[in-house]
């Protein structure tokens, strides 16, 4: 029983199974709590050794924007956490091309290296997943 796995005994029936989990981030980082709480689930999923992919689409692409300055709005800037994901073996990060371009962004504007996929390619990626969580 550990805090990092939410009190789950890793010896139970779920251990040993590796599923493909995709987390779709669709909302801007600070207007609502979804982005922050989605990141918390992603970090927990790493403790379960699952095959995790992160997708950023719609306003969710802003979660990865460089230069977030949140002090004036009294929020914690959690964007550095995305750079730490590699340390949790979460390395599959995808950004939807159309969402990024519609917001005048390029991959150079983002805090981490991502793979940019068009909506159709993204659909194929999601088709392969076992569990899709959208936040």
């Amino acid at each position: 029983m550990t805090e990092s796995t939410g009190g789950i005994d890793m010896e139970d029936e779920a251990s040993g199974t590796i599923k493909k989990f995709a987390f779709i981030n669709r909302k801007a980082p600070y207007g609502t709590v979804y982005a922050l709480e989605a990141l918390e689930v992603v970090l927990i999923s790493a403790a379960f050794d699952q095959d995790v992919s992160l997708v950023f689409a719609d306003d969710g692409v802003y979660q990865l924007k460089k230069g977030q300055a949140t002090k004036a709005v009294g929020m914690k800037n959690f964007s550095p956490t995305y750079r730490a994901l590699e340390g949790y073996d979460i390395e599959k990060l995808y950004v939807e091309k159309e969402s990024m371009e519609a917001r005048g962004l390029t991959a150079d504007d983002l805090v981490v290296d991502v793979e940019v996929l068009g909506a159709a390619e993204l659909a194929d990626l999601l088709e392969e997943q076992d569990v899709v969580l959208s936040f």
């Binding site: 990092s4 939410g6 789950i8 779920a14 689930v41 076992d130």
Partner: protein, 119 residues
């Protein structure tokens, strides 16, 4: 089929928890299994026994408690999301328990489908 359920929105403000409840009920009636209902984000507000809707409205919290009592459905509230919103053991309705996010991931691993209710 074994379903895991994720409820991401609070009661009354948003239809997500109503729809999740109707889905659970329909699935159980058809002989499916509900592995767990996990409450996250404002969804944790589904678990407070302090809720007192007007008498002519549905009681969403009690409805979940009844589902747990009658069908043994595991209702789990995320501890971090709950503490942010003032949901603690003292005001937790019957049938709910507070635990970690690992319970959501675990349900995703062992269910045939994980179904999200929210925006």
């Amino acid at each position: 089929m074994k379903f895991g359920i994720l409820v991401n929105e609070g009661p009354y403000t948003h239809q997500a928890s109503d729809t999740a409840y109707q889905f659970c009920k329909a699935a159980l009636e058809k002989g499916h299994e509900i592995d767990r209902v996990f409450f996250y984000h404002d969804g944790v507000n589904n678990a407070t026994k302090l809720t007192e809707p007007p008498q002519d409205d549905r009681n969403i919290v009690q409805r979940w408690s009844k589902l747990a009592e009658e069908h043994g459905v595991d209702l789990v509230v995320c501890v971090a999301a709950a503490l942010r919103r003032g949901i603690v053991d003292d005001n937790l309705a019957a049938g709910f328990r507070i635990s970690g996010l690992g319970q959501l991931v675990e349900s995703g691993i062992r269910s045939d489908r994980l179904v999200t209710f929210g925006d």
